[in-house]
């Protein structure tokens, strides 16, 4: 088993597509951050001075009178001080023409689907290549226990994807830090490090899940194109079209569940009035039913991975290899 894992790791490491996509992603990040830096206009000392004074006045007023002027708190807030510190922030008083380190978690969240796309292509390719080159015959002539082969490959794919995704996100975070230090704003609020870490690992896990789904589909369809194509088709037809007509279906769909996981906000029924904190987290709902909680969304994503994995194993075990 260890030998097979080492063999699969070496094989995955030797695949050019893994390096090409990783390097291309990093190059894209560097180019993107450079462009953002070039367009960034940090506030002048005078603007900062005025904004700081205005912010201090408004914060004081908020704490003294409450957000609505009557001392009442919006749902989800435990104290006036906490609410005001969260909602009366210095960045609201500064011109928004610069890049900000504080935006890192939101950018990582927003980039999650790009990461998922990267994982889909890599996951499908790591399964499909063996069918297009015919090397599955060689692999099985060395290890005919197919369940073992499939599981080892899935583990290796997950590990390789996790490494690639963490590296890409780490490079982005580092580049963004450099960019905001040179040509932006580096002030961050409380819990910034935790938010970045959370966004990074949630994005990684969700993207790995998508990669494993693509891996399973490519294994069933015996081609990279089958793996990528089925997911794209699913996204357009099922998630984009069918789910628009059948609301009950929405909480069971992969991409919607992944969105819930990444955003950290539950899926609510239509017609609900909701309130979000400036960091994007949900602080209050009114008249809404929770269709899918964050925990439930994790289960849905996991169920897709496990179900498609089992299907792929069953077919791999049963079908002839020509």
């Amino acid at each position: 088993m260890t030998g097979l894992i080492r063999s699969e790791l070496l094989r995955a490491r030797s695949r050019r597509i893994v390096w090409v996509l990783t390097v291309a992603s990093i190059a894209g990040i560097v180019v993107g951050v450079t462009i953002a830096m070039a367009n960034s206009r940090p506030p002048t000392d005078r603007q900062i001075e005025r904004a700081t004074a205005q912010h201090a006045r408004d914060l004081e007023g908020c704490i003294a009178e409450g957000p609505y002027g009557d001392g009442e708190l919006p749902p989800g807030s435990s104290s006036v001080e906490e609410y005001c510190e969260q909602n009366v922030r210095i960045e609201f008083y500064l011109p928004n023409d610069d890049i900000k380190l504080a935006d890192t978690p939101e950018i990582l969240e927003g980039a999650s689907f790009m990461l998922a796309l990267l994982a889909i292509v890599l996951g499908a390719s790591l399964a499909g290549a063996d069918w297009s080159t015919g090397t599955m015959t060689t692999v099985l002539a060395w290890e005919p226990r197919r369940v073992r082969v499939w599981l080892v490959r899935a583990i290796v794919v997950a590990a390789v994807l996790a490494i690639v995704l963490v590296v890409v996100q780490a490079v982005f975070t580092a580049a963004w830090f450099v960019g905001t230090t040179v040509s932006g704003t580096t002030e961050t609020g409380r819990g910034f490090g935790g938010s970045v870490t959370n966004a990074l690992w949630v994005g990684t896990v969700v993207a790995v899940a998508f990669g494993l789904v693509a891996h399973a589909l490519a294994s069933v369809g015996r081609s990279t194109i089958a793996g990528v194509g089925v997911i794209v088709g699913y996204a357009i037809i099922v998630e984009g079209f069918v789910a628009g007509f059948v609301e009950d279906l929405a909480p069971r769909l992969l991409i919607r569940a992944a969105t819930v996981v990444i955003s950290g906000n539950p899926m609510l029924s239509r017609g609900a009035t909701v309130a979000y904190a400036p960091d994007g987290s949900l602080v209050g709902t009114e008249g809404a039913a929770v269709l899918l909680s964050v925990e439930g969304a994790w289960v849905v994503v996991g169920a897709y991975v496990v179900t498609l994995g089992l299907l792929a194993i069953a077919l791999f075990q049963r079908r002839d290899v020509q």
Partner: protein, 334 residues
């Protein structure tokens, strides 16, 4: 008293029978009983690739597995390697049921099915390294097999730059990485130039001499005749004959003598006068007599002043036997 009989007293009856069978019968490394493989066609119906094949391959030496294209050779090999599930029948390799127990013996089985399937963008060495990890073989073993197949100087080149013969040799190198007791090679001379064919032939012979069992499928009969100790011929998914090469050749029966003369018609008349039947075969006579009766032919012709330019035994070759047997089975020759 020491020895096998006493040793057997401590084991069960069934085990004793098994051990006795092993003592009195040659060990077969491959056993196929009633193998049948059908493929469903998309438009309905079934294609029968193998139709009740029985096969026994004894340990050691080179075993030729012959048959025309489409006879079921590759399907049989795929079944043996667990790549294809038989519709019916029983397969055993190195004593293990296939495919159920194949995993337990696969480390002792090297194989190439049709063309060696390797990653074209990886170097030859990298392809071997990936496989070597599976069986825990180190770089010394990789160096040794690359040297043995003559690819040491091209090991770092991408496989896509290799000629077909080099790919074939790399496939053999991969199969040898396991230091296997059984080698299964499917059409190893396919696509090779004459020099490559000779190289592969020598390699197969040397592997057989080392005590390994080399199971070679081919439709190039002259190759098999030069390398194999035993053969099986299949046609339409069934074995039509099998055994030692000499035994299989003898099934064609005595083919008599071939006599070369300047005037075959005059020689035929002279032999007829001596009571010896002969037929004209282009510029030679074919005489239906055993080799030890050659003197009667030379005497009869010499008495009429006809002198021989050639006299030899008309030996059957594998191709002739193959054509006869496959014609009987109603299939086209390769």
């Amino acid at each position: 008293m020491e020895g096998p009989p006493d040793a057997l007293t401590s084991v069960g009856t069934q085990e004793r029978r098994r051990v006795r069978r092993a003592i009195v019968r040659p060990v077969n490394v491959i056993e196929v009983e009633g193998l049948r493989k059908e493929y469903r066609r998309l438009r309905g119906g079934r294609t029968v690739a193998v139709a009740g094949l029985d096969l026994e391959v004894p340990e050691g030496g080179v075993f030729g597995f012959l048959g025309p294209n489409g006879a079921g050779k590759t399907t049989t090999i795929r079944c043996l390697l667990g790549l294809v599930r038989p519709t019916a029948g029983r397969l055993r390799m190195l004593g293990a049921d296939v495919p159920g127990r194949l995993g337990g013996v696969i480390d002792r089985v090297g194989s190439i099915v049709e063309q060696p399937a390797l990653f074209p963008r990886f170097s030859g060495r990298r392809n071997l390294e990936i496989l070597a990890h599976v069986v825990g073989a180190g770089s010394t073993a990789i160096d040794a097999v690359l040297e043995r197949v003559g690819l040491a100087d091209r090991q770092h080149d991408a496989v896509r730059t290799y000629s077909l013969g080099m790919k074939q040799r790399l496939g053999i190198a991969a199969a040898l990485l396991k230091d296997p007791g059984v080698l299964i090679l499917d059409e190893p001379a396919n696509g090779l130039d004459p020099a490559g064919i000779v190289e592969v032939r020598e390699l197969i012979r040397s592997l057989g001499r080392e005590g390994r069992t080399v199971f070679v499928s081919s439709h190039i009969l002259s190759e098999v005749q030069q390398t194999a100790d035993r053969v099986a011929i299949i046609a339409r998914g069934r074995a039509v004959t099998s055994g030692a090469v000499d035994d299989v050749l003898s099934t064609s029966g005595s083919r008599g003598l071939l006599v070369g003369v300047d005037d075959p018609a005059a020689a035929q008349r002279a032999l007829a006068d001596a009571g010896i039947a002969a037929t004209v075969d282009t510029m030679r006579l074919r005489v239906n007599l055993p080799p030890d009766a050659a003197s009667s032919v030379t005497r009869a012709l010499a008495e009429r002043g006809i002198y021989l330019s050639e006299l030899r035994v008309d030996e059957a070759d594998l191709e002739t036997v193959f054509l006869e047997l496959t014609r009987d089975a109603g299939v086209d020759a390769p």
